[in-house]
């Protein structure tokens, strides 16, 4: 096939196809690149920058950067991991993340990225912004304190649910998620079964009445680091 070639990721040679992103090629080869705004069922956004890698010496977002023949990608590289650690820490201090009393704890992707990178504390001062909680919907809670502005809900609502319930508003530190047309979440269009409700990586969009559904020790990231599913898929292929 003319449009397929190889690239190297941390020294390992993998197959890639013209038109794929670095994320797609590595995922297929069972190599996990940490990410937050990217989601397999949504169009890539390239905004959180957690998936930053070095590609031919340049720092790029793996979820949007197309592969090139013989590309040299550095993923588990000390410099790259140090950047990621900083980004994760900044996401923590920018919002109000009180994990001990968050229903998402143990199943949260931001937290899991902290665990993966061995983060025990942030060196940045916490901003403790004042943000609202929108509990107006009977079944869904929008907790702005924990929103990391990944935009997954925006894309899911627009591209999958065809509803455009969520959108971004404001700039810089004031940027936030807002609910379209209505000032509050009790939007006629939002349904519990919507994709937008299930894609939030953190505890910002939660289904009500679930509480702490899974006991400590059995939650998604209690024992298995984030990305193990991607990497085990590789082992299945090898054996």
């Amino acid at each position: 096939m003319t449009d397929s070639f190889t690239i190297r990721v941390d020294g390992r040679v993998i197959e890639a196809r013209q038109g794929q992103t670095i994320m797609e090629a590595t995922e297929q080869a069972g190599i996990y690149i940490p990410r937050l705004c990217d989601h397999p069922d949504l169009r890539a956004h390239g905004s959180c920058r957690i998936c930053t890698v070095l590609a031919n010496g340049r720092s790029v977002a793996a979820c949007t950067q197309p592969v090139e023949r013989d590309m040299e990608v550095k993923n588990r590289h000390p410099r790259v991991e140090a950047w990621r650690r900083q980004l994760i820490a900044m996401l923590f201090v920018e919002g109000n993340h009180f994990c001990p009393c968050c229903e998402k704890s143990g199943n949260c992707e931001l937290q899991a990225l902290g665990y993966l990178h061995g983060m025990t504390a942030t060196q940045h001062p916490h901003l403790f912004p004042r943000r609202a909680v929108d509990g107006s919907h009977p079944d869904i809670l929008l907790e702005h304190n924990r929103c990391v502005l990944c935009g997954r809900c925006v894309r899911a609502s627009r591209d999958v649910d065809g509803k455009q319930v969520f959108q971004f508003a404001g700039r810089g530190l004031n940027r936030h998620i807002t609910v379209n047309t209505e000032a509050q979440l009790d939007h006629p269009g939002l349904d519990l079964k919507d994709k937008a409700v299930s894609v939030c990586p953190v505890g910002a969009i939660l289904k009500k009445h679930k509480h702490y559904g899974v006991p400590v020790g059995e939650r998604k990231f209690d024992h298995d680091p984030i990305g193990s599913d991607v990497e085990s898929h590789d082992q299945d292929k090898v054996t």
């Binding site: 109000n96 009180f98 001990p100 009393c101 993966l116 025990t120 504390a121 060196q123 304190n145 024992h223």
Partner: protein
Amino acid sequence: MPHTKKPRVATVSLAGCFGCHMSLLDLDERFLQLSDIVEFGRSPINDLRRFNERCRVGLIEGGCCNEENVQTLVEFRESCDLLIAVGECAIMGGIPAMRNTLPLADCLEEAYLDGRSVYNPSGRIPDDPELPLLLDRVYCAHDVVKIDYHLPGCPPQADTIWQALVAVLSDNPVNLPYELVKYD
């Protein structure tokens, strides 16, 4: 027999709930092992309230919500070779820091004047000079002094505290495995 002095370990609960100290007790029989190899310095465990000797390690539970917490923490820094922040309260303020998104006056008014279950005929917010002065917000331990290690969790598991103590007492760096880095 030559007498080698045991290293001293001090502990304190600042703006915390004592849950992290409970986790220390949760070492169960390892706690006896611990008392074989260390001597407790200033700590609620032996009810010693002053530093009478320099300590090798200080375990800090809780952040600083008042003046007295700050003084105590500074004293710990001056009296211990290594300080370990134990638990989310010490690391980032934890539950007490939930008040940091609100002005202090609002918190006091809600607690002593306006709250639905408040019974306070004096209509005053407590202001006795004996009470430590509240800070404008809750500060984590490393906002105030240098902290050498952070043990995450609310509280950290007994295993986390054990591994950290064993490491620092044998002059090794603390490297926690995945299972022990948890924020809840």
